[in-house]
Symmetry: C2
Subunit: 253 residues, 2 copies
DNA sequence: CGTAAACCCTAACGTTACGTGAGGGTCAAC
DNA sequence: GTTGACCCTCACGTAACGTTAGGGTTTACG
Protein backbone atom coordinates (compact mmCIF):
# COMPACT_ATOMS: atom_id res chain seq x y z
CA UNK A 1 0.00 0.00 0.00
CA UNK A 2 1.16 3.49 -0.76
CA UNK A 3 1.21 6.56 1.48
CA UNK A 4 0.89 10.25 0.67
CA UNK A 5 3.28 12.87 2.08
CA UNK A 6 0.93 13.78 4.89
CA UNK A 7 0.54 10.15 5.93
CA UNK A 8 4.28 9.53 5.91
CA UNK A 9 4.88 12.74 7.83
CA UNK A 10 2.32 11.60 10.39
CA UNK A 11 3.79 8.13 10.78
CA UNK A 12 7.37 9.36 11.02
CA UNK A 13 6.57 12.43 13.11
CA UNK A 14 8.24 14.89 10.76
CA UNK A 15 6.88 17.71 8.60
CA UNK A 16 5.67 17.54 5.03
CA UNK A 17 8.19 20.21 4.16
CA UNK A 18 10.97 17.95 5.39
CA UNK A 19 9.87 15.23 3.00
CA UNK A 20 9.68 17.76 0.19
CA UNK A 21 13.18 18.86 1.08
CA UNK A 22 14.54 15.30 1.05
CA UNK A 23 12.98 14.88 -2.35
CA UNK A 24 14.46 18.16 -3.61
CA UNK A 25 18.00 17.28 -2.67
CA UNK A 26 17.64 13.76 -3.99
CA UNK A 27 18.05 12.09 -0.63
CA UNK A 28 14.71 10.32 -0.53
CA UNK A 29 11.95 10.66 -3.08
CA UNK A 30 8.75 8.64 -3.41
CA UNK A 31 8.89 5.52 -5.55
CA UNK A 32 5.83 6.68 -7.43
CA UNK A 33 3.63 9.63 -8.31
CA UNK A 34 -0.12 9.69 -8.83
CA UNK A 35 -1.68 11.03 -12.00
CA UNK A 36 -2.08 14.42 -10.37
CA UNK A 37 1.57 14.51 -9.32
CA UNK A 38 1.00 13.46 -5.73
CA UNK A 39 3.99 11.82 -4.03
CA UNK A 40 3.30 8.15 -3.20
CA UNK A 41 5.65 6.45 -0.78
CA UNK A 42 5.94 2.67 -0.55
CA UNK A 43 6.74 0.67 2.57
CA UNK A 44 10.27 0.30 1.29
CA UNK A 45 10.54 4.07 1.16
CA UNK A 46 9.56 4.09 4.82
CA UNK A 47 12.39 1.73 5.67
CA UNK A 48 14.80 4.03 3.88
CA UNK A 49 13.36 7.00 5.72
CA UNK A 50 13.92 5.24 9.00
CA UNK A 51 17.58 4.76 8.12
CA UNK A 52 17.84 8.42 7.18
CA UNK A 53 16.30 9.47 10.48
CA UNK A 54 18.62 7.19 12.39
CA UNK A 55 21.68 8.74 10.84
CA UNK A 56 20.25 12.22 11.26
CA UNK A 57 19.56 11.59 14.91
CA UNK A 58 23.22 10.78 15.25
CA UNK A 59 24.33 14.10 13.84
CA UNK A 60 25.13 13.30 10.22
CA UNK A 61 24.52 15.91 7.54
CA UNK A 62 22.00 15.15 4.82
CA UNK A 63 24.68 15.18 2.12
CA UNK A 64 26.68 12.61 4.04
CA UNK A 65 23.64 10.43 4.56
CA UNK A 66 22.90 10.66 0.87
CA UNK A 67 26.36 9.55 -0.15
CA UNK A 68 26.26 6.84 2.46
CA UNK A 69 23.01 5.32 1.33
CA UNK A 70 23.61 5.67 -2.38
CA UNK A 71 26.98 3.95 -2.27
CA UNK A 72 26.79 0.46 -3.78
CA UNK A 73 29.15 -0.86 -1.10
CA UNK A 74 26.73 0.32 1.57
CA UNK A 75 25.85 -2.62 3.77
CA UNK A 76 22.73 -2.25 5.86
CA UNK A 77 23.76 -4.77 8.47
CA UNK A 78 27.12 -3.14 8.85
CA UNK A 79 25.47 0.27 9.10
CA UNK A 80 23.08 -0.97 11.76
CA UNK A 81 25.93 -2.39 13.77
CA UNK A 82 27.71 0.95 13.58
CA UNK A 83 24.51 2.67 14.62
CA UNK A 84 24.27 0.38 17.58
CA UNK A 85 27.77 1.26 18.69
CA UNK A 86 27.07 4.95 18.29
CA UNK A 87 23.91 4.66 20.32
CA UNK A 88 25.76 2.81 23.03
CA UNK A 89 28.40 5.52 23.14
CA UNK A 90 25.84 8.28 23.21
CA UNK A 91 23.93 6.56 25.98
CA UNK A 92 27.10 6.29 28.02
CA UNK A 93 27.77 9.98 27.45
CA UNK A 94 24.26 10.93 28.53
CA UNK A 95 24.68 8.93 31.70
CA UNK A 96 27.89 10.79 32.38
CA UNK A 97 26.06 14.04 31.83
CA UNK A 98 23.46 12.92 34.34
CA UNK A 99 26.24 12.23 36.80
CA UNK A 100 27.65 15.66 36.14
CA UNK A 101 24.27 17.25 36.72
CA UNK A 102 23.87 15.34 39.96
CA UNK A 103 27.30 16.42 41.10
CA UNK A 104 26.63 20.01 40.17
CA UNK A 105 23.39 19.83 42.11
CA UNK A 106 24.95 18.41 45.26
CA UNK A 107 27.82 20.84 44.76
CA UNK A 108 25.42 23.77 44.76
CA UNK A 109 23.67 22.43 47.82
CA UNK A 110 26.94 22.04 49.70
CA UNK A 111 28.44 25.21 48.31
CA UNK A 112 31.44 23.52 46.67
CA UNK A 113 31.67 24.45 43.01
CA UNK A 114 33.06 22.14 40.34
CA UNK A 115 36.51 22.41 38.85
CA UNK A 116 36.24 24.21 35.51
CA UNK A 117 38.20 21.53 33.68
CA UNK A 118 36.03 18.67 34.90
CA UNK A 119 32.95 20.65 34.07
CA UNK A 120 33.41 20.40 30.34
CA UNK A 121 35.01 17.00 30.23
CA UNK A 122 31.64 15.42 29.85
CA UNK A 123 30.95 17.37 26.67
CA UNK A 124 34.17 16.60 24.91
CA UNK A 125 33.79 12.87 25.20
CA UNK A 126 31.22 12.14 22.55
CA UNK A 127 32.07 13.32 19.11
CA UNK A 128 29.77 12.34 16.27
CA UNK A 129 32.32 13.55 13.75
CA UNK A 130 34.52 10.70 14.84
CA UNK A 131 31.98 8.36 13.36
CA UNK A 132 31.60 10.53 10.33
CA UNK A 133 35.27 9.98 9.61
CA UNK A 134 34.84 6.30 10.18
CA UNK A 135 31.90 6.16 7.87
CA UNK A 136 33.67 8.10 5.17
CA UNK A 137 36.58 5.73 5.49
CA UNK A 138 34.16 2.90 4.97
CA UNK A 139 31.84 4.31 2.36
CA UNK A 140 33.57 7.46 1.18
CA UNK A 141 34.33 8.28 -2.42
CA UNK A 142 38.10 8.22 -2.88
CA UNK A 143 39.90 5.24 -4.38
CA UNK A 144 41.61 4.52 -1.11
CA UNK A 145 38.35 4.49 0.78
CA UNK A 146 36.70 2.28 -1.77
CA UNK A 147 39.57 -0.15 -1.64
CA UNK A 148 39.43 -0.07 2.11
CA UNK A 149 35.74 -0.80 2.09
CA UNK A 150 36.25 -3.72 -0.25
CA UNK A 151 38.89 -5.25 1.97
CA UNK A 152 37.40 -4.67 5.39
CA UNK A 153 34.20 -6.29 4.24
CA UNK A 154 35.62 -9.72 4.85
CA UNK A 155 37.14 -8.91 8.23
CA UNK A 156 35.74 -10.75 11.19
CA UNK A 157 35.73 -9.89 14.83
CA UNK A 158 39.03 -11.65 15.44
CA UNK A 159 40.59 -9.79 12.54
CA UNK A 160 39.72 -6.50 14.14
CA UNK A 161 41.09 -7.77 17.44
CA UNK A 162 44.37 -8.69 15.74
CA UNK A 163 44.51 -5.28 14.11
CA UNK A 164 43.88 -3.58 17.43
CA UNK A 165 46.60 -5.65 19.12
CA UNK A 166 49.07 -4.72 16.38
CA UNK A 167 48.27 -1.05 16.75
CA UNK A 168 48.64 -1.14 20.48
CA UNK A 169 51.97 -2.89 20.16
CA UNK A 170 53.26 -0.12 17.93
CA UNK A 171 51.91 2.42 20.39
CA UNK A 172 53.65 0.94 23.43
CA UNK A 173 56.88 0.45 21.49
CA UNK A 174 56.85 4.10 20.51
CA UNK A 175 56.18 5.15 24.10
CA UNK A 176 59.15 3.05 25.18
CA UNK A 177 61.41 4.83 22.69
CA UNK A 178 60.19 8.19 23.94
CA UNK A 179 60.87 7.24 27.53
CA UNK A 180 64.34 6.12 26.56
CA UNK A 181 64.96 9.58 25.13
CA UNK A 182 65.35 8.31 21.58
CA UNK A 183 64.60 11.13 19.07
CA UNK A 184 61.90 10.75 16.44
CA UNK A 185 64.54 10.86 13.71
CA UNK A 186 66.26 7.77 15.09
CA UNK A 187 66.08 4.74 12.76
CA UNK A 188 64.22 2.80 15.46
CA UNK A 189 61.44 5.39 15.51
CA UNK A 190 61.40 5.46 11.72
CA UNK A 191 61.08 1.68 11.70
CA UNK A 192 57.99 1.91 13.86
CA UNK A 193 56.56 4.54 11.53
CA UNK A 194 57.23 2.21 8.63
CA UNK A 195 55.50 -0.61 10.52
CA UNK A 196 52.46 1.59 10.91
CA UNK A 197 52.47 2.46 7.23
CA UNK A 198 52.69 -1.20 6.24
CA UNK A 199 49.88 -1.94 8.66
CA UNK A 200 47.60 0.47 6.85
CA UNK A 201 48.83 -0.90 3.56
CA UNK A 202 48.02 -4.49 4.54
CA UNK A 203 44.74 -3.91 6.31
CA UNK A 204 43.09 -1.12 4.40
CA UNK A 205 44.45 0.37 1.22
CA UNK A 206 47.72 0.94 -0.64
CA UNK A 207 49.51 3.53 1.46
CA UNK A 208 52.58 5.23 0.01
CA UNK A 209 55.10 7.08 2.15
CA UNK A 210 53.67 10.31 0.78
CA UNK A 211 50.15 9.36 1.73
CA UNK A 212 51.31 8.37 5.16
CA UNK A 213 52.97 11.77 5.57
CA UNK A 214 49.69 13.41 4.61
CA UNK A 215 47.90 11.36 7.23
CA UNK A 216 50.56 12.39 9.75
CA UNK A 217 49.85 16.06 9.07
CA UNK A 218 46.18 15.38 9.53
CA UNK A 219 46.72 13.52 12.78
CA UNK A 220 48.69 16.44 14.13
CA UNK A 221 46.25 19.08 12.95
CA UNK A 222 43.13 17.42 14.24
CA UNK A 223 42.66 17.56 18.01
CA UNK A 224 40.60 14.37 17.91
CA UNK A 225 43.56 12.38 16.71
CA UNK A 226 46.18 14.18 18.76
CA UNK A 227 44.09 13.45 21.84
CA UNK A 228 44.22 9.74 21.03
CA UNK A 229 47.99 9.82 20.86
CA UNK A 230 48.39 11.99 23.92
CA UNK A 231 46.44 9.44 25.93
CA UNK A 232 49.14 6.85 25.22
CA UNK A 233 52.03 9.15 25.97
CA UNK A 234 52.44 12.86 26.44
CA UNK A 235 53.94 14.46 23.38
CA UNK A 236 53.40 11.39 21.26
CA UNK A 237 51.33 13.14 18.59
CA UNK A 238 54.26 15.37 17.67
CA UNK A 239 56.78 12.57 18.06
CA UNK A 240 54.79 10.25 15.84
CA UNK A 241 54.38 12.93 13.20
CA UNK A 242 58.10 13.59 13.17
CA UNK A 243 58.91 9.89 12.95
CA UNK A 244 56.62 9.47 9.93
CA UNK A 245 58.12 12.49 8.18
CA UNK A 246 61.63 11.19 8.92
CA UNK A 247 60.60 7.83 7.51
CA UNK A 248 59.35 9.53 4.34
CA UNK A 249 62.69 11.34 3.97
CA UNK A 250 64.57 8.08 4.46
CA UNK A 251 62.44 6.30 1.88
CA UNK A 252 63.10 9.02 -0.66
CA UNK A 253 66.82 8.43 -0.01
CA UNK B 1 42.03 34.02 36.34
CA UNK B 2 40.67 35.13 32.96
CA UNK B 3 40.58 33.25 29.71
CA UNK B 4 40.74 34.49 26.11
CA UNK B 5 38.27 33.28 23.46
CA UNK B 6 40.65 30.68 22.15
CA UNK B 7 41.23 29.27 25.63
CA UNK B 8 37.52 29.07 26.40
CA UNK B 9 36.85 27.48 23.02
CA UNK B 10 39.54 24.92 23.75
CA UNK B 11 38.22 24.10 27.20
CA UNK B 12 34.61 23.85 26.10
CA UNK B 13 35.33 22.16 22.80
CA UNK B 14 33.50 24.71 20.69
CA UNK B 15 34.66 27.21 18.07
CA UNK B 16 35.76 30.79 18.60
CA UNK B 17 33.10 31.85 16.13
CA UNK B 18 30.47 30.28 18.36
CA UNK B 19 31.60 32.38 21.29
CA UNK B 20 31.60 35.47 19.07
CA UNK B 21 28.08 34.59 18.03
CA UNK B 22 26.87 34.17 21.60
CA UNK B 23 28.35 37.56 22.36
CA UNK B 24 26.69 39.13 19.30
CA UNK B 25 23.21 37.96 20.21
CA UNK B 26 23.68 38.89 23.85
CA UNK B 27 23.46 35.37 25.15
CA UNK B 28 26.86 35.17 26.76
CA UNK B 29 29.54 37.85 26.59
CA UNK B 30 32.81 38.06 28.48
CA UNK B 31 32.74 39.86 31.82
CA UNK B 32 35.69 41.96 30.76
CA UNK B 33 37.72 43.21 27.85
CA UNK B 34 41.45 43.87 27.68
CA UNK B 35 42.86 47.24 26.60
CA UNK B 36 43.16 45.99 23.03
CA UNK B 37 39.53 44.87 23.02
CA UNK B 38 40.24 41.18 23.62
CA UNK B 39 37.41 39.22 25.20
CA UNK B 40 38.28 38.01 28.72
CA UNK B 41 36.09 35.34 30.25
CA UNK B 42 35.96 34.66 33.98
CA UNK B 43 35.34 31.31 35.65
CA UNK B 44 31.79 32.42 36.32
CA UNK B 45 31.36 32.94 32.59
CA UNK B 46 32.44 29.35 32.12
CA UNK B 47 29.74 28.14 34.49
CA UNK B 48 27.18 30.08 32.49
CA UNK B 49 28.55 28.64 29.29
CA UNK B 50 28.16 25.16 30.70
CA UNK B 51 24.50 25.86 31.40
CA UNK B 52 24.06 27.19 27.87
CA UNK B 53 25.66 24.09 26.41
CA UNK B 54 23.48 21.85 28.52
CA UNK B 55 20.33 23.44 27.25
CA UNK B 56 21.63 23.49 23.71
CA UNK B 57 22.49 19.83 23.87
CA UNK B 58 18.88 19.23 24.74
CA UNK B 59 17.59 21.01 21.68
CA UNK B 60 16.68 24.46 22.95
CA UNK B 61 17.10 27.46 20.68
CA UNK B 62 19.54 30.17 21.65
CA UNK B 63 16.80 32.76 22.04
CA UNK B 64 14.95 30.48 24.42
CA UNK B 65 18.09 29.82 26.41
CA UNK B 66 18.70 33.53 26.59
CA UNK B 67 15.24 34.28 27.93
CA UNK B 68 15.51 31.37 30.31
CA UNK B 69 18.78 32.44 31.82
CA UNK B 70 18.02 36.12 31.97
CA UNK B 71 14.72 35.64 33.76
CA UNK B 72 14.94 36.71 37.40
CA UNK B 73 12.76 33.79 38.46
CA UNK B 74 15.24 31.39 36.90
CA UNK B 75 16.32 28.90 39.51
CA UNK B 76 19.53 27.00 38.80
CA UNK B 77 18.71 24.08 41.02
CA UNK B 78 15.30 23.75 39.45
CA UNK B 79 16.83 23.96 35.99
CA UNK B 80 19.36 21.28 36.82
CA UNK B 81 16.65 18.99 38.10
CA UNK B 82 14.72 19.50 34.87
CA UNK B 83 17.89 18.80 32.92
CA UNK B 84 18.34 15.61 34.83
CA UNK B 85 14.86 14.46 33.95
CA UNK B 86 15.36 15.31 30.31
CA UNK B 87 18.62 13.38 30.24
CA UNK B 88 16.94 10.40 31.85
CA UNK B 89 14.21 10.49 29.24
CA UNK B 90 16.65 10.83 26.41
CA UNK B 91 18.73 7.96 27.74
CA UNK B 92 15.65 5.78 27.91
CA UNK B 93 14.81 6.71 24.34
CA UNK B 94 18.31 5.88 23.14
CA UNK B 95 18.08 2.49 24.80
CA UNK B 96 14.82 1.90 22.99
CA UNK B 97 16.50 2.86 19.75
CA UNK B 98 19.23 0.35 20.49
CA UNK B 99 16.58 -2.28 21.00
CA UNK B 100 15.00 -1.28 17.70
CA UNK B 101 18.34 -1.56 15.93
CA UNK B 102 18.92 -4.98 17.45
CA UNK B 103 15.48 -6.12 16.37
CA UNK B 104 15.98 -4.75 12.88
CA UNK B 105 19.29 -6.58 12.72
CA UNK B 106 17.88 -9.92 13.81
CA UNK B 107 14.91 -9.24 11.54
CA UNK B 108 17.20 -8.82 8.56
CA UNK B 109 19.13 -11.93 9.48
CA UNK B 110 15.96 -13.97 9.73
CA UNK B 111 14.30 -12.29 6.80
CA UNK B 112 11.31 -11.00 8.77
CA UNK B 113 10.94 -7.26 8.31
CA UNK B 114 9.54 -4.92 10.92
CA UNK B 115 6.02 -3.53 10.92
CA UNK B 116 6.09 -0.01 9.55
CA UNK B 117 4.20 1.42 12.50
CA UNK B 118 6.53 -0.05 15.12
CA UNK B 119 9.48 1.15 13.15
CA UNK B 120 8.90 4.78 13.87
CA UNK B 121 7.43 4.41 17.31
CA UNK B 122 10.84 4.74 18.79
CA UNK B 123 11.29 8.17 17.23
CA UNK B 124 8.03 9.68 18.25
CA UNK B 125 8.56 9.05 21.91
CA UNK B 126 11.06 11.69 22.82
CA UNK B 127 10.09 15.22 22.02
CA UNK B 128 12.36 18.01 23.26
CA UNK B 129 9.67 20.56 22.46
CA UNK B 130 7.61 19.04 25.20
CA UNK B 131 10.20 20.32 27.65
CA UNK B 132 10.36 23.61 25.87
CA UNK B 133 6.69 24.04 26.61
CA UNK B 134 7.27 23.02 30.17
CA UNK B 135 10.10 25.47 30.55
CA UNK B 136 8.09 28.27 29.06
CA UNK B 137 5.32 27.45 31.48
CA UNK B 138 7.81 27.72 34.28
CA UNK B 139 9.89 30.65 33.19
CA UNK B 140 7.93 32.09 30.31
CA UNK B 141 6.94 35.70 30.07
CA UNK B 142 3.16 35.87 30.25
CA UNK B 143 1.33 36.73 33.43
CA UNK B 144 -0.25 33.29 33.59
CA UNK B 145 3.08 31.57 33.30
CA UNK B 146 4.65 33.78 35.92
CA UNK B 147 1.80 33.11 38.28
CA UNK B 148 2.05 29.42 37.55
CA UNK B 149 5.76 29.46 38.26
CA UNK B 150 5.20 31.25 41.57
CA UNK B 151 2.66 28.71 42.70
CA UNK B 152 4.26 25.49 41.53
CA UNK B 153 7.44 26.48 43.29
CA UNK B 154 6.09 25.25 46.59
CA UNK B 155 4.67 22.00 45.23
CA UNK B 156 6.20 18.81 46.55
CA UNK B 157 6.31 15.34 45.08
CA UNK B 158 3.04 14.33 46.72
CA UNK B 159 1.35 17.46 45.39
CA UNK B 160 2.26 16.46 41.87
CA UNK B 161 1.01 12.95 42.57
CA UNK B 162 -2.31 14.33 43.76
CA UNK B 163 -2.55 16.51 40.68
CA UNK B 164 -1.79 13.56 38.43
CA UNK B 165 -4.44 11.44 40.17
CA UNK B 166 -7.01 14.20 39.71
CA UNK B 167 -6.20 14.50 36.03
CA UNK B 168 -6.43 10.78 35.46
CA UNK B 169 -9.78 10.68 37.23
CA UNK B 170 -11.16 13.30 34.88
CA UNK B 171 -9.71 11.38 31.95
CA UNK B 172 -11.35 8.05 32.88
CA UNK B 173 -14.64 9.76 33.67
CA UNK B 174 -14.63 11.34 30.24
CA UNK B 175 -13.82 8.04 28.60
CA UNK B 176 -16.77 6.49 30.46
CA UNK B 177 -19.09 9.16 29.12
CA UNK B 178 -17.84 8.55 25.61
CA UNK B 179 -18.38 4.82 25.92
CA UNK B 180 -21.90 5.46 27.18
CA UNK B 181 -22.56 7.44 24.01
CA UNK B 182 -23.08 10.72 25.86
CA UNK B 183 -22.43 13.67 23.52
CA UNK B 184 -19.82 16.31 24.37
CA UNK B 185 -22.57 18.91 24.70
CA UNK B 186 -24.24 16.98 27.50
CA UNK B 187 -24.15 18.75 30.90
CA UNK B 188 -22.21 15.83 32.36
CA UNK B 189 -19.42 16.32 29.82
CA UNK B 190 -19.52 20.07 30.40
CA UNK B 191 -19.20 19.44 34.11
CA UNK B 192 -16.04 17.48 33.54
CA UNK B 193 -14.69 20.27 31.36
CA UNK B 194 -15.47 22.69 34.15
CA UNK B 195 -13.68 20.44 36.62
CA UNK B 196 -10.62 20.52 34.40
CA UNK B 197 -10.79 24.31 34.17
CA UNK B 198 -11.02 24.65 37.94
CA UNK B 199 -8.13 22.26 38.29
CA UNK B 200 -5.93 24.52 36.22
CA UNK B 201 -7.27 27.48 38.14
CA UNK B 202 -6.41 25.96 41.51
CA UNK B 203 -3.07 24.43 40.65
CA UNK B 204 -1.50 26.85 38.25
CA UNK B 205 -3.00 30.19 37.30
CA UNK B 206 -6.34 31.97 37.04
CA UNK B 207 -8.04 30.28 34.12
CA UNK B 208 -11.16 31.88 32.68
CA UNK B 209 -13.59 30.00 30.47
CA UNK B 210 -12.22 31.94 27.53
CA UNK B 211 -8.66 30.98 28.32
CA UNK B 212 -9.70 27.38 28.70
CA UNK B 213 -11.31 27.50 25.27
CA UNK B 214 -8.08 28.85 23.84
CA UNK B 215 -6.21 26.00 25.45
CA UNK B 216 -8.74 23.59 23.98
CA UNK B 217 -8.03 24.90 20.48
CA UNK B 218 -4.36 24.47 21.12
CA UNK B 219 -4.81 20.92 22.39
CA UNK B 220 -6.68 20.03 19.26
CA UNK B 221 -4.26 21.73 16.90
CA UNK B 222 -1.10 20.31 18.36
CA UNK B 223 -0.50 16.63 17.60
CA UNK B 224 1.55 16.28 20.78
CA UNK B 225 -1.49 17.00 22.88
CA UNK B 226 -4.01 15.19 20.74
CA UNK B 227 -1.80 12.10 20.95
CA UNK B 228 -1.98 12.27 24.73
CA UNK B 229 -5.75 12.31 24.64
CA UNK B 230 -6.02 9.66 21.96
CA UNK B 231 -4.01 7.32 24.15
CA UNK B 232 -6.74 7.47 26.79
CA UNK B 233 -9.61 7.02 24.38
CA UNK B 234 -9.98 7.18 20.64
CA UNK B 235 -11.61 10.42 19.58
CA UNK B 236 -11.13 11.99 22.96
CA UNK B 237 -9.18 14.99 21.71
CA UNK B 238 -12.13 16.17 19.66
CA UNK B 239 -14.63 15.21 22.35
CA UNK B 240 -12.73 17.07 25.01
CA UNK B 241 -12.41 20.14 22.82
CA UNK B 242 -16.15 20.13 22.16
CA UNK B 243 -16.97 19.71 25.85
CA UNK B 244 -14.80 22.68 26.78
CA UNK B 245 -16.37 24.86 24.09
CA UNK B 246 -19.84 23.79 25.23
CA UNK B 247 -18.87 24.64 28.78
CA UNK B 248 -17.78 28.09 27.67
CA UNK B 249 -21.12 28.64 25.93
CA UNK B 250 -22.98 27.52 29.03
CA UNK B 251 -20.94 29.85 31.25
CA UNK B 252 -21.72 32.79 28.98
CA UNK B 253 -25.39 31.94 29.43
C1' DC C 1 64.99 45.17 19.05
C1' DG C 2 62.76 43.79 15.15
C1' DT C 3 60.12 40.32 13.00
C1' DA C 4 57.48 36.23 12.35
C1' DA C 5 54.02 33.19 14.18
C1' DA C 6 50.14 32.78 16.70
C1' DC C 7 46.22 35.07 18.42
C1' DC C 8 42.72 38.61 18.57
C1' DC C 9 39.25 42.04 16.42
C1' DT C 10 35.11 43.47 13.34
C1' DA C 11 32.48 43.02 9.15
C1' DA C 12 30.00 40.55 6.03
C1' DC C 13 28.65 37.05 2.99
C1' DG C 14 27.82 31.64 2.65
C1' DT C 15 25.57 27.27 4.21
C1' DT C 16 22.48 23.75 6.12
C1' DA C 17 17.91 22.21 7.02
C1' DC C 18 14.24 23.28 6.95
C1' DG C 19 9.80 27.09 8.17
C1' DT C 20 6.44 29.80 6.11
C1' DG C 21 3.43 31.81 3.02
C1' DA C 22 1.70 32.60 -1.97
C1' DG C 23 -0.88 30.98 -5.60
C1' DG C 24 -3.17 27.30 -7.39
C1' DG C 25 -4.81 22.29 -8.54
C1' DT C 26 -7.23 17.60 -6.44
C1' DC C 27 -10.30 14.66 -4.05
C1' DA C 28 -13.96 12.85 -0.86
C1' DA C 29 -18.18 14.09 1.09
C1' DC C 30 -22.46 16.13 1.98
C1' DG D 1 -21.28 21.42 -6.94
C1' DT D 2 -19.06 23.44 -3.51
C1' DT D 3 -16.55 23.11 0.67
C1' DG D 4 -12.69 21.68 3.29
C1' DA D 5 -8.82 18.93 3.75
C1' DC D 6 -4.91 17.65 1.06
C1' DC D 7 -1.55 18.11 -2.57
C1' DC D 8 1.68 20.77 -5.86
C1' DT D 9 5.58 24.14 -7.03
C1' DC D 10 8.06 28.30 -6.37
C1' DA D 11 10.44 31.34 -3.46
C1' DC D 12 11.87 34.02 0.27
C1' DG D 13 12.95 33.75 5.56
C1' DT D 14 15.64 32.02 9.55
C1' DA D 15 18.87 29.95 13.06
C1' DA D 16 23.39 28.94 14.21
C1' DC D 17 27.08 29.17 12.99
C1' DG D 18 31.35 28.54 8.91
C1' DT D 19 34.35 31.06 6.27
C1' DT D 20 37.13 34.40 4.16
C1' DA D 21 38.84 39.30 4.21
C1' DG D 22 41.37 42.94 6.12
C1' DG D 23 43.82 44.40 9.87
C1' DG D 24 45.65 45.11 14.89
C1' DT D 25 48.27 42.56 19.22
C1' DT D 26 51.27 39.52 21.87
C1' DT D 27 54.81 36.46 22.45
C1' DA D 28 58.88 33.92 21.15
C1' DC D 29 63.19 33.91 18.98
C1' DG D 30 67.47 35.19 16.71
Amino acid sequence: MEHTVGAVAGIAGISVRTLHHYDEIGLLGPSERSGAGYRLYTDDDLVTLQQVMFFKELGFGLEDIKRLMHDPTFDRREALRLQHRMLADKTAQLMKMMDAVEQTLSGIEEGTPMATDDMFEVFSDFDPKRYETEVRERWGDTDAYRESARRTKGYKKEDWARFKAESEQIGTDTAALMDAGVPATDPRAMDLAEQARLQIDRWFYPCSHEMHANLAEMYLADPRFTATYEKIHEGMAQYWHDAIIANLARARG
